[in-house]
Amino acid sequence: MSSYRWAAGYIDDGDRPKIVTSRFHLEDSYTLERYLATGGYQALRHALARTPAEVHDEVRGATVLGRGGAGFPAGTKWGLMPADKYPRYLVVNGDESEPGTYKDRLLMELDPHQLIEGSLIAAYAVGLAQVFLYIRGEMPLAHERVATALNEAYVAGYVGKNILGTDFSVDIVLHWGAGAYVVGEETALIESLEGKRGEPRLKPPYFPAAIGLYGQPTIVNNVETLSNLPWIMANGAAEYVRIGTETSPGTRMVAVSGHVERPGVFEIVNGTTTFRDLIYGDDFCRGIRNGNQLKAFVPGGGSAPWFTAEQLDLPFEGKLVGAAGSMLGSGAIMVMDHTTDIPAAALTLTRFYAHESCGQCTPCREGGTWLERVLQRVVDGRGTSADLAQMKEIGTSICPGEFPHASSSRHGLDATPFPYKMTTICFVGPSAYAPVHSALTLFPEEFAARVRDRVQIPVTAVQ
């Protein structure tokens, strides 16, 4: 296993409550033996001892915000399924590909049984007939660990027919992706699972909870969301909401990458930890590398508008971050220090979204690539000031009206809060514009200089 570090990226020091990462420090955390030895599948027994409705109420009571990006409470989402329409399906979204985000992979690699148990609890609570565990294709280790775990769990009687001797029966089918970021969007995930091109479906009129996989009611939950359920069933919703804040209970996993001293994945208390804690705290990233200055950071995955040092004291809490002009998304922070070439950094993200556009709707397909090309020209030192205006024009073709951005006292700007309007079906199109807009708004001088001086700077700048 020499090319893998078994707990790559996960950092646990400091005295923080652990809900989903409680076994990460154990070398054999992914085995059934270890899982059982550390209280595994007890939550399932608790759940089966209660009625499905009681289990559902418990989850609803815990207000587990969806960890995929949109932050919609899981219990509420389950309740949106139309009554009396069966079969219903659960699709576990393990297609983690958002730039900067990296938690589901660890959860699948290091604690697959926790995810399986969480899925079973969900299946029991709302009467799901079948669970599809969709794992991103480029994660063979996660696939191997989950497959092994499922095989063990089937043999041990935790999955399949008459689970633990009850009449609760459900299959969990492992499904692989094959490399497409947009499939992480829940309707695209469903299309992909139906064997089609992973193109998002338009919602409204129909949401997956009503018409999803094969036209049946379908719940799509993120890996981290489901991984919280065993703890909640074992310890109770009351205990869960005691952690974190009222609007954002529990913990969540955050990956901090980029120009920090100690990049890593942390399980943090929801809603209270500030960005300053995360970037500068001793328990977390311990400051900017080489003692450099912070220039900007992306607070919630590649799609999120950027923050600067002015927003450092905001807590990691959805509503507050939204009001400040960005979003938390899937829990990823990317930090840029003062040596970073902002246009080039924005290009790496815009290129990502242009490349990952599914191509079905025009603004994203054409606009994303157009943005990338113009930005590339500017970065290459061949741009003109008309190009800068042009990028904003393309942006308004994707997102008409005001686009959210952070406040900037340097430029005398107030924040424009989330969300934006968009002409696309899903968020990939606006995401291609988000970094461009942030960079142009918060660092116009860098673009002006680039257009004026026509110079080229490598993206990493000073090492």
Binding site: S3, Y4, R5, G9, P52, A53, W78, P82, K85, Y86, P87, Y89, S97, E98, P99, G100, T101, D104, R105, G127, L128, E138, P140, L141, H143, A147, N151, Y154, G160, K161, D167, F168, D171, V173, H175, W176, A178, G179, A180, E194, G195, K196, R197, E199, Y214, Q216, A255, G258, H259, P263, G302, A332, M334, A345, T348, L349, R351, F352, P458, T460
Partner: protein, 204 residues
Amino acid sequence: MSRFNDDNLRLAKEIIGRYPKARSATIPLLHLAQQQEGHLSDEAMAHVAELVGATPAEVLGTASFYEMFKFEPVGRYLINICGTMSCALGGSDELLAHAEKVLGVKVGGTTADGLFTLERAECQAACTEAPNMQVNYRHCHRMTNELFDRLVDDLRSGRRDGDIPAHGTLARVRQQIPAERAVGPAALDDRGAPAWLPAKEVGG
């Protein structure tokens, strides 16, 4: 030899049997075909189409949507160097330039010995371990030029055969559902609530 061999055909039918609709097995079956051949041939796609009940054009449409499917042979080792923000901030452009020099091919090219294909990839979910790359989708964290050189040497000499199989093989462990434990796919015309749901609780 482009259609599934007997073992894989059995496997393919088993996989199809897990889904309420055969077409859902398209991607797993395409992976299986790629495992058999290293890439997807037209014949393999036509065979998958036959098995899942779609037209070959639909299977091609699905396959070409996803990046992991290759329609031309690639090297035994597919090297993907991540170029998205975190890795770019961590120096992936330099790593890529180094890789091009060491392998003597440009991005997208395959070495003359057919061992390596070099690609530039997007985010690989290892952002804190920048710059990151994958060899046949196995992560290689915090790569440096020296580590890259050593890795290439190891791969050439076969020292990594144990943990990095040839391109096409994703996971070496497959899900196996024991027949006696299997519930079977939830058929779409099965309209009743599952057995464990008390009748009055439907609606969730």
